[in-house]
Symmetry: C2
Subunit: 343 residues, 2 copies
């Protein structure tokens, strides 16, 4: 059923029917009711393409998911984030367009997206320092919101980010308060903006207590379980081992936990662990999170907020001024995080 058929059925012009359906004020209440009723009864849904062609809007938001040619790993944050954003799109009657592309083709993808008019805006994922995609999107005139920050000219674009500095400052403070002095940082790759900020928070907390950060206690790699295991094992085998760990991902923390066990130590008694992870959806059903989680914030929520911000920007008549949103991590203290070893 299309507009033409529906209007013929009602004995009205397409225009009137269209206006009634789109809540134009000039339509009489009686007509509107009658039209809407008929539309529902006949299961009428306007054709997106036709509507888009007529209005110049696509009612779709694009997400470009780069597949790294080096890592070939699918960043686990995407699932969670996409789910959050998707809820907002669905509620706002927007479609979500996903483009999975080799990272080398990313620029071309944005260009095509813009030229084809497939989307009204995009979300930019995983920004790195001084990201080239930001000027590109600006050039293309495609509205966008960045999830995270590119560590440069942060006022010039819109973003939603977690306060990583503060999260790690608090996590480290928490361990310091327990009496720990040798605290290891098992961080993600520092080519990512968030990892740099996490280290900054960690170092700031130490320095505030007069402790000089020890390079031997700081690791930075892609956040796999294996990496956590190796990092913790090596540091624990050191002559001056850490008594606590601040860990940058749940998966990595699982490795750390294992290394602690392998070393004959008990978590919460001999060693304290604090985790910051944005992706906890796969554990939501676990009930008892079997490792001491100190700080967390949900990427799912970030997805929702990015989407909301973008839709708002698109809806604005004037060229939007950048918006910023800094999320504070929720602090969740495990009951048996444990004190620092005495003596």
């Amino acid at each position: 059923m299309n507009l033409k058929e529906l209007s013929a059925l009602l004995g009205l012009s397409q225009t009137t029917v269209s206006r009634a359906l789109n809540d134009y004020p000039e339509v009489s209440e009686a007509t509107r009711r009658r039209v809407k009723e008929a539309a529902r009864a006949n299961n009428y849904t306007p054709n997106t393409r036709a509507k888009g062609l007529a209005t110049g809007r696509s009612m779709a938001i694009g997400h470009v998911i780069p597949i790294s040619t080096r890592h070939e790993i699918v960043n686990p944050i995407f699932a969670d984030f996409i789910a959050g954003a998707g809820e907002i799109y669905t509620a706002g009657n927007y479609d979500m367009l996903l483009s999975v592309v080799p990272d080398v083709d990313e620029e071309r993808t944005y260009r095509t997206l813009a030229a084809r008019g497939s989307v009204d805006g995009v979300i930019l994922h995983g920004p790195h320092a001084d990201d080239r995609r930001i000027p590109l999107l600006r050039e293309l005139g495609l509205p966008f919101v960045v999830h995270g920050r590119a560590g440069h000219e942060e006022d010039s674009y819109s973003w939603v980010d977690v306060n990583n500095t503060r999260a790690f400052r608090r996590a480290t403070d928490f361990l310091l308060d327990l009496g720990h002095r040798r605290i290891a940082l098992v961080n993600g790759l520092e080519s990512m903006d968030f990892a740099r900020r996490r280290r900054a928070g960690y170092e700031a907390a130490l320095k505030a207590r007069g402790i000089t950060p020890d390079p031997a206690l700081m690791r930075s790699e892609e956040m796999t379980e294996d990496y956590g295991w190796r990092a913790a094992r090596d540091m624990l085998a050191d002559e001056n081992p850490p008594t606590a760990f601040a860990v940058s991902s749940m998966l990595t923390a699982i490795g750390v936990r294992r290394a602690i066990g392998d070393a004959g130590l008990e978590m919460g008694r001999d060693v304290s662990v604090v985790i910051h992870d944005d992706v906890l959806s796969y554990l939501k059903n676990g009930g008892d999170i079997p490792i001491f989680t100190a700080a967390r914030s949900s990427v799912h929520e970030a997805g929702r907020l990015c989407a909301e911000m973008l839709l708002r920007i698109i809806a604005e008549p004037a060229p939007a001024t950048p918006r910023h949103l800094l999320l504070e991590s929720e602090l969740v203290i495990g009951s048996s995080t444990g004190p620092a070893p005495t003596g």
Copy 2:
């Protein structure tokens, strides 16, 4: 740059330019070359909506991701699968449309997708027994491929599935060959078709050796780490504990591994573990998978294959006959899977 402008620039009609670009045979070679050259030089990309409106095709495939109102957990297979499928769509110049909806709205979503003409076909995820969505899609006339099977009239629709029965038959055989006789099954929820098949394979292997499956050794729940931990802990505390585990997910297996450690046992020496998991991407970079993986197959690959099958079906002129693809799991034996305890 649009067709009109491009054709004006070339001093040709829109028709000729369109024909040249779409490789119609009646265009002269010289013209075609000239047109394509100009298109590239001017960065011309046809508007998707206009093209779709004219051809009646959307060049997009839909994926409906239901958010369970009960679990609010994002099924981790999606990320991997979507990435695989996305690669194929990109290569075939198709867009991927994702709809994240509360599972109660799923039916309506498919109806809207069809009415709006937003997609040329859909992939059906996570089919359950006698899935209602299958007749619905048929009614809507929307081409589709099912990832997995609905356990009913399997010949009547197209699907791509992993041979779960065989995978668990082999995994169990492997443990039996090591000498194990009390083998536990830590399975997923049996409302899912794949879990039922896995149990069938497990039971078949046991029965073939004259062993009656012991209900006390079989668990079936949502596959969290915590579940794995509880299941293994309880069974190991039993008076007649298992000496081996066949586990249905990596995450669950992590819990099993922990329970084994907690019980003072060593994996590979006292207890053997075999895992079947379709989602291993997040471990790809781990190098050393720290737990003994017996059988695996990648959902990523399934995503690619589903997408390929669907595009092929859509391209077919006649109403397609159903296609089926059963993937055999790759068998990866960990080096320290260990023998059965003697005596």
